[in-house]
């Protein structure tokens, strides 16, 4: 009895505003404000802008996949349509002198994205699962294909472009420089992330979780699973449209690429890599993926191969994504046993990481061996120059990789045992823990 009451009071204190719920938001906002002073270069700003847009889009996508259990293969449509609309509005503002300040433009994109979602959601959200996924795929292909046909709206092959600086200046800012755009994007990022978080706390957001887990039971409680899905879908469409508007402001051009299956697929990849089970998962996914994309693609031609392999392995071994891996450590932390994991981690993860690098190097050498121009035998890897046609580098790489994987495999038993002990309250001697 007392136990229940104490849990109840504890729960109640969680409901309102507390340091625990507000602190992450304040810290993240502060980091966003300071970031441009840390990374000042132009390319860093570009990456950060892109990251912010991807975060908004991924969070919007996770409203469907993670919170509503709806797998969409065509979510780029709502972002793209919102973006295209913003582009047109931007041009209209220029020609017609409509008093619409630029920072409000994403609202237009959001509303248009929501309008599209309302139309399509009205029939696609009847069921979740495969039918929903297939309708989303069909709609995605339809709209991507019609973007080449309907030139008036989509601008055909060259897309629609505009100029963000022609609008009305807001408090003297004309958004000429990247840094101004960064703060605009960051502001929208915080605002829309906060709104999406709050949406997940509303009764509709909670019901979306219930419908995801057991639609039949939710319907017995008197909720229409279809309407709950529909509301989530529309809200997700709105924020995808906001992301589209931010994209329009940032890049000043939208093309068929923003609508097609590749974009829809990559947002699925990003969200799943980050982790669909937690609100902050897609944020991590977007940050990691954008970094991977911009750093790896400079280093190697094979980055998509690595990302694909990473994705498949994540689905197989860590269905919770990166956020799931992070949250796995909460229990050991609460038990005060996180420290015991450090040494086994070091002994397993380090050789495994070197082994993976070795495997990647093997792929790189093989790729160079097969596809480099005739006579171009030399390549450099990790700053070492060597010839791919001599056997030595091959032997070294294969040897290092095999040895590292062997060490990692040998030490993984110890890690597994320590992991088991770190997740139970009692020490292994007393409790016979597994």
């Amino acid at each position: 009895m007392t136990d229940t009451t104490s849990i109840m009071t504890k729960k109640r204190s969680y409901g309102g505003l507390s340091t625990g719920t507000v602190a992450p938001w304040v810290i993240c906002t502060a980091i966003l404000l300071v970031l441009p002073y840390v990374f000042q270069s132009n390319s860093a700003l570009t990456i950060m802008n892109q990251m912010a847009i991807t975060i908004v889009f991924a969070l919007a996508y996770n409203m469907l996949l993670g919170q509503g259990g709806m797998l969409s293969f065509g979510h780029a449509v709502y972002m793209g349509m919102g973006g295209f609309m913003c582009m047109h509005v931007m041009n209209w503002v220029e020609y017609q002198n409509i008093p619409l300040p630029l920072p409000l433009l994403p609202v237009v994109g959001g509303l248009f994205g929501m309008g599209m979602a309302t139309i399509i959601g009205s029939f696609s959200t009847r069921t979740a699962g495969t039918v929903f996924a297939m309708i989303s795929l069909g709609i995605g292909e339809l709209i991507a294909a019609s973007s080449v046909i309907v030139v008036a709206f989509f601008g055909g092959e060259e897309g629609v472009s505009g100029d963000r600086t022609y609008g009305l200046p807001v408090f003297g800012y004309e958004f000429l420089t990247k840094i101004e755009v960064y703060y605009l994007t960051a502001g929208w990022l915080v605002l829309s992330a906060l709104l999406m978080y709050l949406f997940s706390r509303t009764p509709v957001g909670r019901m979306a979780n219930a419908v995801r887990d057991n639609p039949e039971r939710a319907q017995f409680l008197g909720y229409s699973a279809r309407w709950v899905r529909f509301y989530s879908f529309c809200a997700s469409g709105f924020f995808a449209g906001v992301a589209g508007g931010l994209f329009a402001i940032n890049f000043e051009i939208l093309t068929e690429e923003n609508l097609n299956l590749v974009t829809s697929g990559s947002i699925l990849l990003i969200t799943f890599l980050g982790g669909v089970g937690f609100f902050f998962g897609p944020i991590i996914g977007a940050i990691v993926f954008t970094l991977l994309q911009s750093v790896l693609s400079l280093q190697t031609e094979l980055w998509q191969l690595y990302v694909g392999a990473l994705f498949v392995l994540t689905v197989m071994y860590f269905p919770g994504g990166l956020a799931g891996v992070i949250m796995m450590h909460v229990a050991p932390y609460k038990l005060g046993k996180l420290g015991t994991l450090v040494v086994p981690y070091f002994k397993t993860v380090l050789p495994a990481a070197i082994g993976i690098l070795g495997l990647a190097s093997f792929c790189e050498i093989m790729f160079h061996f097969k596809h480099a121009a005739v006579g171009e035998n030399d390549m450099s890897l990790f700053g070492i120059e060597f010839s791919t046609h001599s056997p030595l580098p091959w032997i070294v790489i294969v040897g290092v990789t095999l040895v590292c994987f062997w060490i990692a495999k040998r030490n993984s038993a110890e890690l597994r045992e320590t992991w088991g002990n770190a997740n139970v309250l009692s020490s292994p001697k007393e409790g016979g823990a597994q």
Binding site: G138, L261, M316, P319
Partner: protein, 318 residues
């Protein structure tokens, strides 16, 4: 009239090709309840393996060996990948096959490069078998039709007349009971997955010379195959056949007949606007049938899913 005949034959080739893919996919769906996004990737693997084999041994060994290799690869993926993901539920399974499709495309680019590889039909079949009017029909097309029909008949025979087929059909509907009778159901599932992917591989072997062997070939056909089995009804073999032929003929007809929207609109009684460049509906006026041909299957699928979610021949909700 001659043109209609030629289009009928071309559509038949395309439709039967689609059927070879969709039959395997629909069998796998009725077995595991999951759509295999990577199915068209096995089709691509079939074409590339056959190309590699044909460089050393010629076309005919490739026709036999490549589908077997693809089938073994498919069975291995089911055994070590999909079965592991199966416990997490349907959505992760779908995502897994999606990731697999991306990965296979990258692997193909890794080994064979980004460009089309010179994989050609055997010289024995490179002649015009007969001609309709002025249009010559290549022997290879007839060969493709023959192989597809043969496969369909074999599949039908095995599934309905043999003991193995009976066990498979029973395992699809009552896996528990079949397991209780002493059959190894996971093994049957693995086998069906392997055979389904081998069929896709075979489709790749015979389609590679005709449609081109390049890394985008899976992507190009992949979503159409989905559309086919969704239209036909998930899990229905006859539905897959009807939908494949329907889509084959529909897209071929649309690509060959140049019917302009402007003619239709004027026939109905609308007046053509004078200045087309600024008219808001100018895109509707300039629409032609070949333009919208590629999106017709998707349109059909969305319409069918909205009004009849279990497809033309399907018995259950997807």
């Amino acid at each position: 009239m001659e043109l209609v005949l030629v289009i009928l034959i071309d559509g038949l080739v395309y439709g039967l090709l689609l059927f070879m893919l969709s039959s395997g996919l629909t069998l796998i769906f009725s077995m595991m309840g999951v759509l295999n996004f990577a199915h068209a990737s096995f089709y691509m693997l079939g074409a590339y393996f056959a190309y590699q084999i044909s460089r050393y041994m010629g076309f005919w060994p490739g026709l036999i060996l490549a589908p077997i290799i693809v089938g073994l690869a498919g069975a291995a993926i089911e055994r070590f990948g999909l079965r592991k993901v199966h416990q997490y539920g349907h959505v992760p399974e779908l995502i897994f096959t999606f990731g697999l499709a991306l990965l296979i495309e990258e692997i193909v680019q890794f080994f064979w490069g980004k460009n089309q590889v010179p994989y050609d039909a055997p010289e024995v079949l490179q002649f015009a078998l007969f001609s309709i009017g002025t249009n010559e029909i290549q022997a290879y097309k007839v060969f493709m039709i023959a192989i597809s029909v043969l496969i369909f008949l074999c599949l039908l025979y095995v599934l309905t007349k043999t003991r193995v087929g009976m066990i498979i059909q029973a395992a699809l509907s009552y896996p528990r009971t079949v397991e209780a009778l002493g059959h190894n159901v996971p093994f049957i599932f693995m086998g069906v997955f392997g055979v389904g992917t081998a069929l896709a591989g075979l489709a790749g072997v015979i389609a590679g010379p005709q449609l081109g062997t390049f890394p985008g070939m899976a992507f190009l056909l992949g979503s159409i195959v989905f559309v086919t089995i969704v239209i036909g009804g998930l899990g229905s073999l006859w539905g897959a056949l009807v939908a494949s032929l329907l889509i084959g003929w529909m897209t071929t007809f649309a690509a060959s007949y140049n019917i302009a929207m402007a003619d239709i609109l004027m026939a109905v009684g609308f007046e053509m606007p004078e200045d087309m460049s600024e008219h808001a509906l100018r895109d509707i006026w300039s629409l032609t049938l070949p333009q919208i041909g590629p999106i017709l299957p998707y349109l059909l699928m969305v319409v069918i899913l909205v009004f009849r979610p279990y497809g033309l021949f399907g018995k259950r909700d997807a």
